[in-house]
Amino acid sequence: MTTTVYQDHASASGAHVARKPWPWAKIGSIALLLVCSAIMIAPFLWIMQAAFSDAAAAYVLPPRLFPSAPTLDNFYAVFDLVPFGSFILNSLFVATTITIGQLITCSMGAYAFARLEFPGKRVLFVVLLATLMIPLQVTIVPQFILMRQTGLYNTHAAIILPALVSPFGIFLLRQYFMTIPTELEDAARIDGAGYFTIFWRIIMPLSAPALTTLGIVCFVYWWNEYFIPLIMINSPELQLLPVGLTLLRGRYSAGAVGNVAAGVTMAVIPVLIIFLFFQRHIIKSIATTGLKG
């Protein structure tokens, strides 16, 4: 309070004495930030103008924001060349299934670690966390063989099943569950509630923020995942969007710029819309956890 009064007084009298100097440092830093923003945005603008240009105009230099004769041909071509609609539906299905699955398995596991006592708890928890150190490439070769021998290779199950467990997700939710006070549970227990009722009726509703965070991080990760579908899926009509996009280039990368650009545009626009709507939550979720499936 006192400082505000003091500042008001100072600025009132300062008008007579000396003008405030131009904040050069601030202007300079804003200019620098604007340049960096431009570098981040320009590639997206370029790809979009290429998507709406005909073959001859896509690469025209100097670049323009709007093509002189905009066309939708590239977008039609994308659907002719590859099963683009299937890519999107497949990606939606796989990412949603994994996200729901992880929310269930991870919250159940996290509840056991946060609230229940059982033999081997400590060891199990440490082993679980230690496996975070194992790079995916070590387990992917045996997983690939397993999927081929069980006939799951080239099905969405080959991607979904291994992704349903996540030591990282368990750890994240356990940390949150530990912060929930136990009074409510004690009261419920006196009323005769069992472990499952407590988990489902008390812990889960109170954990919405942590569940949202895990959900966002998991969905974004699997929506964008490239390595695993590349290995596990062979048929184009079952392929997920990230690998599907590269198919637009065709063999020897000879595909037309406009077609690939249209594919990229269609892949980016939904992400942009969702991102603009939920940006605060998305940025916070990913910044506090890192992206990890």
């Binding site: 370029w46 006592e117 679980l128 995916l136 045996p142 690939f144 291994p162 467990v165 506090t288």
Partner: protein
């Protein structure tokens, strides 16, 4: 505590049963898809198997191959070079941008900056790599056009062994920088203002405040980012795969691309597993090393 004294009580048995039931899906998935494959990888590393004929015991042949493989030395070297360069750039630029952002700005302006920096991070790596493969086209790309405006000759970004690793680094830094900025910004904003007030009272100038107050208090954030950054960038795959397919020659072939090539193009399951295990050891040592070194420079409040 009471329940520990009464291991046989029915209530206690019920709790244990409940715990294992809650953990059941995790334990099954964990055994089948993580622990099992982990041991299977060890087993695969001593066999020769192309999936067509029956696996044959090969002793240490795969490990001997690993040690005498002339390609793998170059590939590891390329991987480390790319990883180090992207790490250093992401940490440095991330910190600079976060410091610039950490000032009183109009709400819309700071929102716009955060949005534009962070957006590439949530876009799929394929879309990003495809985009940059056009932008870095030698004759028609936007990058060379802009460089041409300031008198720099066309750079063969994707077709020369000198420049293609640089192209991979640029693409990766551009995509991931936003994550570093946001995490650094979080670190900066968690520093209590008393520290700055105290330094100001003592007459410290801006640079002194930054190097003696901000940096030490930010060191745990820097450690966190360099550990997860190192683990991530040693495993870089999609960017070089899409931009250059590892070329020209092996100039941008990273270790994960090599595993992919041996395992899923040549179907040499044994050797692919052996290389993957070597990567596990490398990541383990690098992580350990970073934590060891961190004792010297990380300052915990």
């Amino acid at each position: 505590m009471v329940s520990r004294l009464l291991p046989q009580s029915p209530l206690r048995r019920k709790e244990i049963l409940a715990a294992y039931l809650f953990l059941l899906p995790t334990l099954i998935g964990f055994a089948v898809f993580i622990v099992g494959p982990m041991f299977a990888a060890l087993g695969l590393s001593v066999v020769q198997w192309n999936l067509l004929s029956a696996p044959q015991f090969a002793g240490l042949a795969n490990y001997q191959k690993l040690l005498s493989d002339t390609r793998i030395d170059d590939i590891y070297l390329t991987t480390f070079k790319i990883a180090l360069a992207t790490m250093a750039l992401k940490l440095l630029l991330g910190l600079v941008l976060a410091v610039l952002l950490d000032q009183k700005l109009h709400r819309w302006l700071s929102g716009f900056f955060r949005l534009s920096f962070f957006f590439p991070y949530v876009v799929s790596v394929t879309a990003v790599a495809l985009m940059w493969s056009f932008l870095m086209n030698k004759d028609l790309g936007l990058v060379n056009y802009l460089l041409g405006q300031i008198g720099i000759e066309r750079i063969p970004w994707l077709n020369s062994s000198a420049w293609s690793p640089v192209a991979v680094v640029i693409t990766d830094v551009w995509k991931e920088l936003g994550f570093y900025v946001i995490v650094f910004l979080g670190g900066l904003q968690s520093i209590p203002s008393e520290f700055y007030d105290a330094a100001q009272v003592d007459g410290a100038n801006r640079w002194q405040i930054f190097s003696r107050v901000t940096l030490p208090l930010l060191s745990p954030t820097i450690l966190f980012l360099s550990v997860i950054g190192m683990i991530g960038s040693v495993q870089i795959f999609a960017q070089p795969q899409i931009l250059t397919d590892g070329g020209p020659g092996d100039a941008t072939r990273t270790i994960v691309m090599y595993i992919y090539e041996q395992g899923f193009r040549f179907f040499d399951m044994g050797y692919a597993s052996t290389i993957a295990l070597s990567l596990f050891v490398v990541i383990f040592i690098l992580t350990l090393l970073q934590f060891r070194l961190s004792r010297r420079w990380v300052f915990y409040q």
